[in-house]
């Protein structure tokens, strides 16, 4: 027995190699990427998440790509474009040397067909509204017409794409960095199914064809996805990485350990209790980047008690946002006094939300609630997650202390939470929104009447017309003034209570170069390389 144990231990020690994947990756230019969760798929017209985005950005390329050095978009599949004076017509000139990974040239017709695909209702894409700004797109998707010729996207010739919009949409080129507008290879898709077949096998390794910097090499479910450099990519000479290995690590503690053990170059996130620790010890691998996202609480304005704007303001004014970010989230988040994160493409909202418990109490009693007529118990709904729980607990305490309102916390798992929010079965509900493109419209548009993502029951026509006017204005300064006015209306009515602006916190190995902060967290892999100092 003792001998066996001895041998076993030697075996254990001997078996461990001293080179970690991170060390190994340096010579071979293999990037080990912690990707958060198993991607639903890699069909850009079907998937909806962030892990999918990280993989798709290496496999496919849209008309524009994100910049590693600032927030302007760079030419991607399109080498240049021009916009008409009224802002409604775009002419994109595609590269003549753009290639699909099987050698076929990338043509304007490919984009037309791809946009037809995502706008084909039976495909069931969840992002068709990205293209609703294009003439006729919404009508085609909702079945008002079944003639795709009526949609404002045409191939003028093999390498020229013309897009006509309903109104001058200043953020249109920004929209193009979203994968729903990216092209797919028509012959490959049709080889394995019809244009609207969700379950086609064209996305399998070996079948998959796209026009990005990398090719899909292998896909082990729940284990690892490997992509390798595409020699036919038009800018292959700039690409320095040979492979990227994506690991779907859903447990954040495991991901942290993997990074510390040298198994990952990059993590998708950070366990929240580690952030203050790493900050304090000046951990050089810690990264905290600005992120275009807002953490907020939705208020159900159809609820008889939350219907009164004074009540909603009282709730908002009795939250100490400083305390929340300093003592609860503790990772460099920024208290939010507007819905749109300040600085989004140069937009600076002028709204403010005071932390004033006295004023809050006054507002509450003005609304008719005092010791005789107590405010009923409020319920905060959130999806099961430690961080949401901590924030809800803190706010529960703040409302209790400052307003004397009793609060109950209800957490449901993700799907139940979503469906309850959707049908309005909540009073106060936790929410977060990340921008889809870099423009305040991506936030303010949410709160317009009849928007599926509004979910608060708040409908303000003045707000709506301000937004419509802003989106038809071509001049950025005028436009931002209008948007700011809309933002003021929003904060003055408080159907949502902004809490803080997100940050992207993660760990990055010092070997990784060319991975710079980006407000939407888009990092094109052709700028990334591995080098040890």
């Amino acid at each position: 027995m003792r001998n066996f144990l001895f041998i076993f231990l030697i075996f254990l020690l001997g078996c461990s190699s001293n080179t970690t994947p991170v060390d190994d990756g340096l010579d071979k230019q293999i990037f080990h990427f912690g990707n958060g969760s198993e991607p639903q798929g890699i069909d850009p017209h079907i998937v909806t998440g962030v892990p999918e985005h990280h993989i798709l950005i290496s496999l496919c390329e849209g008309l524009t790509i994100p910049n590693a050095y600032d927030d302007d978009n760079l030419p991607g599949a399109a080498e240049s474009w021009s916009i008409s004076d009224d802002g409604k017509t775009y002419i994109f000139k595609l590269r003549k040397n753009g290639r699909w990974s099987n050698g076929d040239p990338v043509t304007a017709g490919d984009f037309v067909w791809s946009w037809k695909r995502i706008l084909t209702a039976s495909l069931g894409s969840q992002y068709p509204d990205m293209l609703y700004y294009v003439v006729g797109a919404q009508e085609y998707h909702t079945g008002v017409t079944d003639n795709f010729e009526s949609v404002g996207v045409k191939a003028i010739d093999t390498y020229t794409l013309e897009v006509k919009l309903n109104a001058p949409t200043p953020f249109f080129t920004g929209l193009l960095s979203h994968y729903s507008t990216w092209p797919v290879h028509k012959e490959t898709v049709l080889k394995y199914g019809a244009i609207d077949d969700r379950n086609g096998e064209w996305t399998r390794p070996g079948n998959f064809v796209c026009n990005g910097a990398f090719n899909l090499k292998s896909w082990e479910l729940n284990n690892k996805i490997v992509v390798e450099k595409n020699p036919l990519y038009w800018d292959a000479s700039t690409v320095q990485l040979n492979q990227i290995h994506y690991y779907p690590v859903s447990n954040v503690m495991t991901e942290d350990r993997m990074f510390r053990a040298g198994q990952l170059h990059l993590t998708s996130t950070l366990p929240s209790q580690k952030c203050p620790v790493y900050l304090e010890e000046n951990n050089p691998d810690l990264r905290i980047d600005p992120y275009m996202g807002t953490y907020f609480y939705r208020l159900n304005t159809t609820n008889p008690y939350l219907n009164d704007v004074r009540v909603r303001k009282a709730l908002a004014y009795s939250i100490d946002r400083r305390l929340l970010v300093d003592k609860v989230t503790k990772c460099g988040q920024i208290p939010a006094y507007s819905f749109t994160p300040p600085g989004s493409n140069g937009y600076e909202p002028t709204t403010s939300i005071p932390f004033d418990p006295e004023l809050a109490k006054e507002l509450l009693s003005e609304a008719g609630f005092n010791t005789e007529n107590k405010f009923p118990k409020l319920e905060i709904l959130f999806n099961t997650n430690e961080d949401h729980r901590k924030i809800a607990l803190a706010i529960q305490q703040m409302w209790q202390q400052n307003l004397g309102i009793e609060v109950e916390l209800v957490n449901q798992d993700w799907k139940v939470y979503l469906s309850r929010e959707m049908v309005g079965d909540f009073q106060v509900s936790r929410a977060g929104w990340i921008g889809d493109y870099e423009d305040p419209n991506t936030f303010l548009d949410l709160m317009r009447p009849n928007r599926g993502n509004n979910k608060t029951g708040w409908e303000n026509q003045v707000y709506d017309s301000l937004m419509a006017k802003a989106n038809s204005t071509n001049n950025q300064e005028d436009r931002y003034k209008l948007l700011d006015e809309a933002e003021k209306i929003l904060i003055d009515n408080m159907p949502i209570i902004p809490l803080y602006t997100y940050v992207r916190s993660y760990q990055l190995s010092p070997d990784v170069k060319g991975y710079n902060p980006h407000i939407l967290d888009h990092h094109h892999p052709k700028f990334i390389y591995l080098e040890r100092d």
Binding site: Q273, E386, K390, L393, N411, Q412, D413
Partner: protein
């Protein structure tokens, strides 16, 4: 008259001589009393947060330290004891009631009834109950009563088998047959003759099931399906502790030790009970 009285006094004698079991019983007594008295003896409420303080190591104000929201750990452990012990005892109780009734009926009735009832038990043994519990928790939410019911429904099977075995053994003994001949009703039979004799194995098995249940609750908490906050059980405390074990080790150490000691105590006591009731396996 059955000869259970001398059996009992023998058993109690053996039990009290078993140091480990007595130690276990002592610990359990302290725990149960503390848990029951928690609202009066806990220094703080389990939900009172001190955000300014955050997580702090043991100090004069907070004997076992505080968690990341500044909540007193000792108080949370005391209140957590209430929940964990409650889950342990109630779920085991549910299993007991179902299992014992099932086993008695099957064992006593014998024949076809027994055959069918035990066949059902065999069939149910093959189900992945954990999966059903997870599914129930996910579907119907994290309701405490649902938790009791679900866990109890998992554990009753073995109880039924044991009880049935015991009853079958007793059924053929003289005193039972005599009572039957005298026309004693079935109900009285259960109560006066059978039940006292099977109490032993039931007690042993129940005592050994409680730690299983507590571990199961911890397992569900780890998956995010346990008790709802701000209430917490030892399972959730340990889960939180595991996440901060490098930074704030006390958050793991104290709940972990308490949990482990409780399980030790239950196991020692259960073992002692079993040894006391079954003389053949004592270490004499």
């Amino acid at each position: 008259m059955s000869n259970s009285s001398t059996l009992w006094s023998d058993a109690i004698y053996r039990l009290t001589r078993n140091k480990a079991a007595m130690f276990g019983a002592f610990i359990l007594l302290i725990l149960i009393t503390s848990a029951a008295l928690a609202p009066w003896i806990a220094p703080y409420s389990y939900s009172f947060q001190n955000l300014e303080l955050g997580a702090s190591p043991p100090s004069a104000d907070h004997i076992l330290g505080t968690d990341v929201l500044g909540r007193d750990l000792l108080s949370r452990i005391l209140y957590g004891a209430r929940i964990s012990l409650l889950v342990g005892f109630v779920a085991t109780g549910v299993a007991l009631v179902i299992g014992v009734s099932w086993g008695i009926i099957a064992g006593y009735a014998g024949g076809k009834v027994d055959s069918i009832m035990m066949r059902i038990v065999d069939v149910l043994y093959g189900l992945p109950f954990i999966i059903f519990i997870i599914l129930l928790m996910v579907i119907f939410g994290r309701n405490l009563w649902l938790l009791f019911g679900a866990i109890g429904a998992v554990e009753w099977l073995t109880m039924a088998r044991i009880v049935r075995g015991q009853v079958m053994g007793l059924k053929n003994q003289e005193f039972v047959m005599a009572a039957k001949a005298m026309g004693v009703s079935n109900f009285l039979m259960f109560r006066k003759h059978l039940l006292p004799n099977i109490l032993g194995p039931i007690a042993v098995y129940a005592t050994l099931t409680i730690p299983q249940v507590m571990l199961l609750e911890g397992f569900l908490s780890f998956l995010g399906l346990g008790i709802q906050p701000p209430m917490s059980s030892w399972g959730t405390l340990i889960k939180d502790g595991v996440e901060s074990m490098e930074e704030f080790s006390w958050l793991l150490i104290y709940p972990g030790i308490t949990f482990t000691i409780t399980l030790f105590a239950l196991n020692f006591f259960g073992d002692g009970l079993r040894d006391a009731l079954d003389p053949k396996t004592t270490d004499n």
